[in-house]
């Protein structure tokens, strides 16, 4: 089981701020593919990877990073702080 968090318009498209997922995905890309195949709202949220960022256990990461040992995955658009 892995905690998956969504922020900003990713959260709005998927409809929940977080969920627990049971997945065997080896990488972030695998997880995204699994979710996109599951429901239309995921396909909508993950449609354009160029406008998405991912953090693994609260560290910015890349889409090809492995998920082994990761407890928390977060998806969000490019940040707009400051």
């Amino acid at each position: 089981m892995i905690d998956v968090l969504y922020f900003a318009w990713v959260r709005e498209r998927i409809g929940v701020p977080r969920e627990k997922l049971d997945t065997q995905a080896a990488t972030v890309m695998d997880l995204i593919a699994e979710l996109k195949a599951r429901e239309e709202r995921y396909a909508w949220a993950f449609g354009d990877l160029a406008s998405l960022r991912v953090a693994l256990d609260q560290e910015l990461s890349s889409f090809d990073a492995p998920l082994a040992g990761v407890r928390e995955v977060a998806f969000f658009p490019p940040m707009t702080g400051g």
Binding site: A8, A55, Q58, L60, P78, M79, T80, G81, G82
Partner: protein
């Protein structure tokens, strides 16, 4: 070093005075304050979402980097989340160094990193509706100078 993420308004003046009062050896203090731009009355408010836990960690990492790189005497970051009205202060950065070049550079570095690497997302609530603020290419490009 002080990093605070909060929903409540902060007092720029009180924080500036408290910061400047305890930076012994410093010759230069720079502050930056980001305000909700009031675009001729059409921007009613701004909502700021963040990633609790990661936000504090990411900002602390940036501040530690700045402290080392410019031999800062002290640095401070306060950033709000939640609902803010036009004209309200969103966040502030303060840096103290022996000389002005270091204090300015560190403050600009922190601002560039906060803009594009701290997990905040702004939504503008105007009379025309609500819209997520898009990240600007020039903000991402600004990181290349460091």
């Amino acid at each position: 070093m002080q990093v605070t993420v909060q929903a409540e308004p902060f007092d720029l003046g009180a924080l500036s005075n408290a910061f400047a009062a305890q930076v012994g050896g410093a010759g230069a203090v720079v502050t930056f304050t980001g305000l909700v731009r009031d675009n001729g009355g059409t921007l009613a408010a701004m909502e700021i979402e963040h990633y609790p836990g990661m936000t504090e960690k990411a900002i602390s990492g940036m501040v530690e980097q700045a402290m080392l790189r410019w031999s800062l005497i002290d640095a401070l970051v306060v950033h709000r989340h939640g609902l803010l009205a036009g004209g309200e202060a969103i966040m502030m950065v303060a840096t103290a160094a022996r000389h002005r070049a270091e204090a300015f550079a560190a403050a600009e570095f922190l601002m560039d990193y906060l803009k594009s690497r701290a997990p905040f997302w702004k939504k503008e609530l105007s009379t025309d509706g609500a819209e997520w603020v898009a990240a600007r290419d020039e903000d991402e490009a600004a990181l290349n100078r460091w």
